[in-house]
Chain length 329, copies 3
């Protein structure tokens, strides 16, 4: 996997993803014995805030002996233009072309976090910022959550499934939409769906009718080994699931129209995942990428209860990212 | 002291505090010979700005061989909710419970800076953010200044006293309120008072009548070995002191009412510590935690004069924090 | 060069600058073999944003075995007052005097980035922030771009000239003003001019009549070994040049009057450096410090074309800074 980008799990075969998870579990068990990143550095470019991603990426680079260079775009460094050929006479102060090429001269990989703009669906579906970095960089580009994908999260989720169930074989997952005070991107849900189905997990996506996942993502998932079903009835998805993954996202039906979207979203406050609903999911364990709006998306009793795997899931970010860095650099 | 929190000096015996200061002086003299934090990492979580704390904590961790992970909450990472059971449908995006538990999985200690809100006295007296971290973290929590305490500063102050006077035995200190353009928290003053009295120093607190220190802190100080007196006459406190520690703080008498507070505070501009006042303090040396509003709190002549120990005091932050990290991790 | 400040290339002899460039090229070729900064740390203080400077300074310090301490003034740390004797009862929270003295106790050098304020020409010509750091610091101060100078950039520019032309002997350079949506400081242009002329390069400065470089800088350049000419005709400067360096800066003729300045600046949009103009410069190569407003300052075809040396120039920041750190610390 040397020198490849890590933009989406779809770019890697199920075998490759499986090997990465296997290696991540080794690293978690035995600690890191080698320093394959000695003398190497990784730029970590944040256009959006982060706790887990920042902490676990910095640590993963260091544990492997490398040097992280963390930058907040727009405060630490310059705001970024990504459109090829742009006449840069407005607010954006540096082109991704230049940032990516300059960083490529001095670091060994570039991690990028650039959330969806949530204004224009077509723009977000093109995943413009991470795509621009991938186009212009001359070193591997690592996706630390883009408009469309959060593959490190998806890998940590599937590593957690593997830890709890031995493997991903025969596993049934419910990916349920959850309420939230704000419209959020679909990246985390997309990457859970894609990573899970690529590794053979059968996924039922439950969401209110106005909250489908993006068509292109659903089509990619449909081409993966694991089956995909969708439902607008949450309890149907939870019944028989081995793992329940909750996440909120904004309505694709009224993208870029926040007033309408807020009104529609507010109708579904009862999609909160609570103990009663989890009771309908047998002995399934519970995943959420965090941060979570407690008692809005998910009840305290679920997050703090015995079936919650959310802290394992967060910790696994560290190990899976170390495995990816080791494989690529 | 392994695996204990460092939230306030009150949690440590005078002997333990003395040992930490002794070790800090050794580290300052001989340099650091060992790397007890090798392979370990410490999250440094800032809800407020910092120069000395950030620089000296990062350096202390590195000098001992460890990795600091520095994060500004709300810009680098998510805003934090600390109330147990909160329904998180408003502005705060992540619960301390989750941040503390996640960090506990990947680092070996968590340093937290979270100033007083200065809106509700009862809230601030409960020291809510650092208490929430201490409640939920599974690794030691280090106080890098909370609503109520700044124990690292208190320890650096007392280390400086020890350097200048040989020991803390028989030392008389004046802790004097000082003018300032803004209402400030009491944390630094509280921790000077508590660390000093715990180590046997006799402290006279001088402040205008509307500017007492918090009752619970005064009661704790009263239970310590060193005597405490209070006065509203600044010159009385300075007379006979071996050390003068100046600090501004807001009026507890009109907490959360900034207009009233500002009016009252502005009456006491003549509490500035200048050369004339220091002349009344014999050969006492001078402490201030910095940053200082020059020529408002303290005159240039004092800060830049031969009796100023403020840069020793700042440097000692590095050594005392290294000693604390070494003892706890 | 041990223990000297690096504020402007004028403080160093042509021989010293030449040795630094020679060493930077060695470091670039052979990698860094030694760790002369082991056990040392360098504070990197940013009052303004940065991508290249932040990334290359952090990396240079680390490559040499040292520890960088990066701080954004005003967000990470406190806002800074620099006027001696100031009564600090307004917005600024800490004096450079205290910040510089405290940092001097705990680090081995202090890098400072503090752009021109662009409000008062006399103030900016005094280069107040970096001068204050230099006055109060007890360790070497490194200029990471001040109101007047960007000497690390100037050195990287001249290193690039040396790489492309073998040496700086007999080299003719065009330093051309370029259009930009905003008024910018003159620091980069000043330091290119000073570093180039100090190393014997013959420089023609081309700019519209309202955009001279500061008189004191022109006088310094006139005293250097290389000749200086000025012209208001861009094509005249480009003809016969071996290297074209483009940069935008604001009009000194209407400093601090943004409305007037914007109107004047907007008249010169045709000063964009494009392929047609570069054709008039024979086989000259092209420099720009980045970030660049593509298709406003410089056309894509130039930046992305075979004569562009802008990424070499950016990479050389790393090597030349490593050479400077090694020489000074």
């Amino acid at each position: 996997m040397k020198n490849r980008n890590f933009i989406t799990t779809q770019d890697f075969s199920p075998e490759e993803l499986g090997r990465l998870i296997f290696r991540a579990r080794e690293l978690k068990q035995g600690g890191v014995q080698r320093t394959p990143l000695a003398g190497k550095s990784v730029a970590l470019i944040f256009l959006n805030p982060s706790l887990r991603t920042r902490a676990t990426m910095e640590l993963a680079v260091r544990l492997l002996g490398g040097t992280p260079l963390t930058m907040n775009v727009g405060t630490d460094s310059w705001t970024l233009e990504h459109r090829e050929g742009a006449v840069m006479n407005a607010g954006k102060t540096e082109h991704v072309k230049d940032a990516a090429r300059v960083l490529s001269r001095i670091v060994d990989a570039i991690g990028v976090r650039a959330f969806a703009g949530l204004e224009n669906l077509e723009d977000d579906l093109a995943d413009p910022v991470i795509s621009a970095f991938a186009r212009y960089a001359e070193v591997p580009v690592l996706n630390m959550e883009s408009a469309l994908y959060h593959p490190m999260q998806g890998m940590a989720d599937l590593m957690t499934v593997t830890e709890r169930r031995g493997s991903t074989r025969g596993v049934k997952a419910a990916l349920t939409w959850a309420p939230h005070p704000k419209a959020l991107p679909t990246a985390v849900a997309n990457s859970f769906l894609l990573a899970a189905t690529r590794l053979g997990v059968e996924v039922t996506v439950a969401a209110p009718p106005e909250f489908p996942l993006p068509d292109p993502v659903m089509r990619l998932a449909a081409g993966n080994p694991g089956k995909v079903r969708t439902t607008t009835r949450q309890e149907e998805a939870l019944a028989g699931a081995h793992v329940v993954c909750a996440k909120s996202w904004g309505s694709l039906a009224c993208y870029g129209r926040p007033e309408v979207e807020t009104k529609i979203r507010s109708r579904y406050a009862d999609w909160i995942v609570d103990d009663k609903k989890m009771a309908g999911a047998g002995d399934a364990f519970f995943l959420h990428c965090l941060p979570v709006r407690r008692n809005v998306e998910v009840a305290d009793a679920v997050l703090d209860g015995p079936r919650s795997a959310v802290y394992d899931e967060a910790e696994n970010r560290l190990h899976v990212q170390a495995a990816i860095l080791e494989a690529i650099l």
